[in-house]
Symmetry: C2
Subunit: 365 residues, 2 copies
C-alpha cells in the first residue's frame, strides 16, 4: 500500500542531474553539542558535562550560567553519546511471547510506568510464542539495553542463564535457578480453584492445557492435580492448545467428550474460547458445565457468562520486576546475596461461569 509511489513525481532531468552530481547527502542539521555550549559559555566541555549531569560538583554561578547558555542554544544531550561514554543506556528491554495477548497489558503498563519513574525507557520485544525468536531478540537487544525483563519466557533454563550472562535479567512468571524472578503463587491459586469447585460439588475436573513451554502452565497443572488429589477429586488433562480464543474452540470440543463437570483452562483466552464453543453447541454454563480460567484479563468480566478466574497483580508484578532489575543494573559489582525469587499473591475472582455440579450426564441440545 505504498501510497507514496503514486504521489511521487516522475524522475525528471533535474533530479537525475542532482543524483549524478552526487549531491552531498544533506544530513540532519548538526545538533548543538556540549562543545558549542562550552565555547559560548567560555568554559571547558567537561564543565558543561558536569553542570548538566552533576550540578552539585560545579560552582553555583558557573552552573547557572552554563545552564542558561545551554538553554539558549537549545542544547539537548545525546543519549547515544552518553551511553557510549558511560556504559549506561537507561533503556530496559521487556520481552514477552505475544504483545497482543491482553494478559500482558498489565505487566507492560506497570513496567512502563516504573521504568519511566526511574528514568528509563522501555523497549518491547514480542517473540510470537517462540523460544528461538525470544533468544534472537535478546541477542539483538543485548548491546543496547541495561537489562532484560523476560515475561513468561519460552526459552530453556540454559538460554535464560546465558541471557543473564549478557545482561542483568529479571524473570516474570518463571523461575530459573540463580535468576531473579517474580511469579504468581500458583500453588495457593490452584488450591483456591479446587476448593471453590469442591464446594460446588464437583468431583471431576478437566484441565485444558496451554503451551508445553509455559512454566506457569506446568505449575498450574501440578497445583491442580495436587490439590485435587488432596480433595480426592479426579483431575485429567487434555492438550496442549495454543493459548488463544481459537485454541479454546478446540479445547471446548475436547471438554464436550469428557465426563468432567468442570473445566479449568490454562488461561482466560482459552477459557473464553471454550465458552464460545460451548454456547454454539447449546451447552449452558454453568448449569451443564463450569468453566474456570487464569489471569483475570480485560474482558473476562464482560464475556458471556462472566468468567470465574484466578487473577494476579500483573501491573504490580511489572513494577516490582523493574525495581529489581534496576537494582541489579545499579549493583554491578559484588552480589553476594542470592537472587530474589518473589512469589506474588493470587486471588480467585468468582463470577458466573461456575456453579453447582450437574448431577447427570452432559446432554447436548
Amino acid at each position: 500500500m505504498d501510497v507514496g509511489k503514486t504521489l511521487e513525481p516522475p524522475v525528471t532531468g533535474w533530479q537525475t542531474f542532482a543524483i549524478i552530481c552526487h549531491m552531498p547527502p544533506r544530513r540532519r542539521p548538526r545538533a548543538v553539542t556540549i562543545t558549542d555550549v562550552a565555547q559560548a559559555a567560555g568554559v571547558a566541555p567537561s564543565t558543561v558535562s558536569r553542570a548538566v549531569t552533576r550540578p552539585d560538583r560545579v560552582n553555583a554561578v558557573t552552573r547557572e550560567h552554563v545552564l542558561a547558555v545551554a538553554n539558549r542554544l537549545g542544547y539537548r544531550p545525546s543519549p547515544v553519546a552518553r551511553a557510549l561514554g558511560s556504559g549506561r543506556t537507561w533503556t530496559l528491554a521487556l520481552v514477552l511471547p505475544d504483545i497482543t495477548n491482553p494478559y500482558f497489558a498489565g505487566v507492560i503498563r506497570g513496567a512502563e510506568r516504573q521504568a519511566a519513574a526511574t528514568g528509563h525507557v522501555l523497549v518491547i520485544g514480542s517473540s510470537e510464542e517462540s523460544g528461538r525468536a525470544e533468544w534472537r531478540i535478546v541477542e539483538k537487544l543485548a548491546g543496547s539495553v541495561d537489562g532484560f525483563l523476560i515475561v513468561s519466557s519460552r526459552m530453556s533454563d540454559q538460554r535464560i542463564v546465558q541471557t543473564a550472562g549478557l545482561r542483568p535479567v529479571v524473570l516474570v512468571n518463571r523461575q530459573t535457578p540463580g535468576v531473579t524472578s517474580v511469579s504468581p503463587d500458583q500453588a495457593s491459586g490452584t488450591r483456591q480453584i479446587i476448593e471453590h469447585l469442591a464446594s460446588l460439588g464437583h468431583r471431576e475436573v478437566l484441565f485444558i492445557a496451554g503451551p508445553p513451554e509455559s512454566w506457569l502452565g506446568a505449575r498450574r497443572w501440578a497445583g491442580i492435580s495436587a490439590a485435587a488429589k488432596k480433595r480426592r477429586m479426579t483431575a485429567r488433562r487434555v492438550g496442549p492448545f495454543p493459548p488463544s480464543i481459537e485454541g479454546g474452540f478446540v479445547g471446548g470440543e475436547a471438554a464436550l467428550s469428557d465426563t468432567a463437570t468442570a473445566v479449568i483452562a490454562h488461561n482466560d483466552l482459552l477459557a473464553i474460547g471454550v465458552l464460545m464453543r460451548l454456547a454454539s453447541r447449546g451447552v449452558r454454563v454453568p448449569e451443564d458445565l463450569s468453566v474456570v480460567g487464569f489471569d483475570n484479563i480485560f474482558g473476562s468480566d464482560w464475556c458471556d457468562p462472566p468468567l470465574t478466574t484466578l487473577g494476579d497483580r500483573t501491573e504490580q508484578a511489572g513494577r516490582s520486576a523493574v525495581d529489581l532489575l534496576v537494582s541489579l543494573v545499579e549493583d554491578h559489582g559484588d552480589d553476594a546475596e542470592p537472587p530474589a525469587e518473589i512469589v506474588a499473591p493470587t486471588e480467585l475472582v468468582i463470577r458466573r461461569s461456575t456453579g453447582r455440579a450437574r448431577t447427570g450426564k452432559l446432554v447436548l441440545r
Copy 2:
C-alpha cells in the same frame, strides 16, 4: 549480571583485602571490540568494520578470515557505538495514548513486525491520554531514535510539526498538514453506519463522544452528522467521556435519557461499557436500543451481545506506517515530494447489537 560471578570463588581474605584497597569497581567485563579482532586477525580495525558491515567491499579470503576470528573471539558489534558514528540508531519510537487499550494491539503488532523486518527495534511510549506527556516522551526519545510513529496523537498540530522538525514522523489516525499520515476512512465508515441504521428504520441517533483531543473522534462526529443530515435523520451528541469501559457506564446512562433509538459510541470500549450499563438497567439490546461502536477490538465479538462496529485494518496500518517512516528516515535529504496522506479502508462489521428501531418510547424495566 557479570557472568563471572557465579564462576568466581567465594569471597576470600584476598578479595576482602582487594576491596579495602579500593579495588577498581570491576565493571562489566570489557566487551570484545573491533580492535581486538583486528589485532587477532592481523588487519586494521577499518577492515574489520568493513568485513562486518560491507562484506562486498572486502577481499573474500580476508573477509572469511576476519569473520572467523571475530566469531572465535565472540565479537558483537556495539549498537551504541555504531549509532554514534553513523547517526542511525535503527530504533523507531511508537507513541500512543494508552498501551492497555486493546485497539492499539493491532497497530503495535503490525509496527513491531515491520520494524523487525526492516532491521529496526521498536520503542513504545504510552502517554496515558495526555498531550503533554506525549510531548515529554517525544523530547526524551528524540535523541535515541531514527523516527516517530505517533498513533492517535493527543498533541496539537503545532507540537506535531515541532516533533517533525526533530525527527521524521508518521502519524496514524491523525492528519496534520505537511506530515505523513495513515488514517482510516471515517467519511465512508460513518456513512456505512448511518446507512445500516437507516435500513433498520432508525431516524434518531445519539453519538457518545470520546476525548475532545481525539482527531478521529472529531471526524467521526462530523461524518455521522453529515451522513445523518443527508438521510434526513437527527443526530445528537453527548459527552465527552473517557474512551474506556467505565466511560461507557456513564455514557449508557446518558443514552437512557434520550429519545434516540440507536447510539453510536466513540469506540468499542465505550460501546461495551454502554452495553453493560444497559444490561444492568434491564434495557434489551437491540430490541430496545441499538448500539454501534468503532474499532472492532478484540472482544467486541464475544461481548453480550456481540457488537456491531466499524473496523479498520490496524495491523496493516501499523505496517504501512513503519514502511513510510523508514523511507522518510532513509530519505534524509531532498523532500521535494509532498508528504503522503494515506486513507485506509474501513468496514462495518454487523453483529447482534443492532436491530430494527423500536417503535414506542424506551421503557425501563
